[in-house]
């Protein structure tokens, strides 16, 4: 078995009387693209929030590259090599695409301190060169000077991905990257994610089942806060409990 990059142990979280997550165990192996699926309200977003550090779990722990990150804040987890994208495009709409990515490069530990009060960022060629490379990677090079607010929806999603990549993560948490995209855009997004997956381990939360079955090496299924199955696409597709949860709709 490959090495575990992310290991989540018995993660639990209650909201008032609702058990959003009940003792979820999940392992993402180095190099794989692991998809997390489940009907609405299954706890996928809660799970991503807790893995990324936006929410603290009630109990359970998150190990990353052998290190216990459970009590670390979000920015410390990013520094450890875990980046996330957001379900709703979460880019700086007033800034150019290039400035957005440059900001992500600047935030990285190896890019040096940002407690610099004198030297204009405009002269830090290295930040922008690297930002251009990231935009190139997601196919936005031609759009680098465009203000993010004026980009098409699919382009904003790609920009979101470029910013996450600019932090040079070991693990990418993608929260519904296909959300709200049209068929053409989502086709391009699938190709993009497949390309990125060759370099980075990915945990993908997605509603689009076509995309999930095309991309994922392994799939985990959440239902009512419990993990009911983990395995290859075929194994998950054949699982009777999973079939019952989805009533056969999408599978």
């Amino acid at each position: 078995m490959a090495e575990a990059l992310l290991e989540v142990r018995r993660l639990s979280r209650r909201f008032a009387a609702v058990d959003a997550l009940q003792a979820v165990d999940l392992i993402v192996e180095t190099g794989e693209l692991h998809a997390l699926i489940g009907p609405n309200g299954a706890g996928k977003t809660t799970f991503i929030q807790q893995v990324s550090g936006a929410l603290q779990p009630d109990s359970g722990s998150v190990f990353f590259a052998g290190r216990d990150l459970t009590r670390l804040s979000m920015h410390q987890r990013v520094a450890a090599g875990m980046a996330r994208s957001y379900q709703i495009s979460n880019v700086f709409l007033g800034l150019s695409a290039l400035d957005n990515v440059a900001l992500a490069v600047q935030g990285r530990q190896d890019a040096g301190s940002s407690f610099r009060f004198w030297q204009p960022v405009r002269r830090e060629q290295r930040l922008f060169d690297e930002a251009r490379d990231c935009l190139e990677e997601v196919g936005l090079a031609a759009r680098s000077d465009r203000v993010a607010g004026n980009l098409a929806h699919g382009e904003q999603r790609a920009l979101e991905l470029a910013m996450a990549l600019a932090t040079r993560p070991k693990l990418l948490l993608l929260d519904e990257p296909m959300a709200g995209t049209g068929p053409e855009e989502s086709e391009r997004m699938v190709e993009l994610i497949a390309r990125v997956a060759r370099q980075v381990t990915i945990l993908l939360v997605e509603h689009d089942m076509d995309a999930v079955f095309r991309l994922a090496d392994r799939i985990s299924v959440l239902l009512n806060g419990r993990l009911i199955a983990t395995g290859t696409a075929e194994a998950v597709r054949a699982d009777p409990e999973v079939r019952r949860a989805y009533l056969g709709d999408h599978l």
Partner: protein, 315 residues
């Protein structure tokens, strides 16, 4: 909003203005209007205080209603220093900044854990606590404030004349504006402006948001302390009124009139507000009504502040 970017003609205009200001004291003296040198000094000092709040509010996005605490702390620090016999500005001013900055560190470390209306309330509460502390401190003059034994000296030269103090205040303001201008385009400035826009995203890019906010808050506090020390020298008194919440409100009004997040927002706001006050109070005792109407007009016609009419923001 995007990152602050200076307008193209900003530097030459600022340079011309600086030259005009340098020529102001001799011009006023020649016209026999020396009284206005003191008034102009007051403008410069409040421009500095409002600019320090603009760093916190405009660039850092922190709506502090307790900024006067740092302004007042600087004034008292200068007064206490000078009563103890230290009157060299090169010692007094850094000390005042240090004291105000330390107070901002304490207030910020606690209040920056809250957001929104709670942040407004907790900064207000801290400032009022500081106010009552100084009002009730008999050793520091209580209600009456703490008179200064004289004025500072700068590298041995007396700042006793109004012109000399004017130049000292002008120098401090010019240095502060240059510092803030470079900060805005440097890594730190871009970081805090991005945090103002979307702090969760910045946290998710690996930025320790709290630390950047705190440093911004402390820098703002220290600059306010510098302004406070200068004002105490102008008026000859460190008064507890400097710490009152109405003073914080005045600084906020200046920044909002001038332009939140614009380099010259604080300067423009201070000049507009204090000049209006000066002119209108010459006509009638009920000048605050006229001032209110004018402010209403400014906010309606230039909702992003007067400086926004000239400056711009861009990527």
């Amino acid at each position: 909003m995007a990152f602050y970017q200076p307008a193209r003609y900003q530097k030459p205009v600022a340079g011309a203005l600086l030259l005009a200001l340098i020529a102001l004291p001799p011009a006023l003296t020649a016209l026999g209007q020396e009284f206005y040198i003191g008034f102009a000094t007051r403008l410069l000092i409040f421009a500095l205080a409002a600019s320090s709040l603009n760093l916190v509010l405009g660039f850092g996005g922190m709506f502090s209603l307790g900024h006067a605490a740092f302004f007042g702390a600087g004034a008292y620090a200068a007064a206490i220093c000078m009563r103890a016999g230290i009157s060299e500005a090169l010692l007094v001013l850094p000390l005042a900044m240090l004291v105000a900055g330390a107070l901002a560190l304490l207030v910020g470390a606690i209040s920056l854990r809250t957001r929104g209306v709670y942040f407004i309330m907790i900064t207000l509460a801290f400032a009022q606590m500081a106010y009552y502390l100084f009002v009730s401190a008999r050793a520091w003059g209580g209600d009456d404030g703490l008179p200064l034994p004289g004025r500072m000296t700068l590298a041995g030269l007396s700042l006793g004349s109004d012109s000399a103090l004017f130049y000292a205040a002008l120098g401090c303001l010019a240095l502060a504006v240059v510092f803030l201008g470079s900060l805005a385009g440097a890594r730190f400035g871009r970081t805090i402006q991005a945090i103002r826009e979307n702090e969760t995203r910045m946290e998710a890019l690996g930025y320790p948001v709290f630390r950047y906010r705190l440093v911004c808050f402390v820098l703002g506090g220290a600059l306010a302390g510098l302004a406070g020390a200068l004002l105490a020298n102008l008026t000859g008194l460190a008064s507890p009124n400097l710490l009152q919440w109405t003073q914080s409100g005045t600084l906020l009004v200046m920044v909002i009139i001038g332009g939140v997040g614009y380099l010259y927002g604080g300067v423009v706001g201070a000049v507009v507000l204090l000049s209006l006050e000066e002119v209108l109070s010459g006509f009638t005792l009920h000048w605050p009504i006229g001032l209110g109407l004018l402010l209403l007009g400014i906010v309606l016609l230039a909702p992003r502040g007067v400086a926004a009419l000239f400056g711009k923001t861009g990527g």
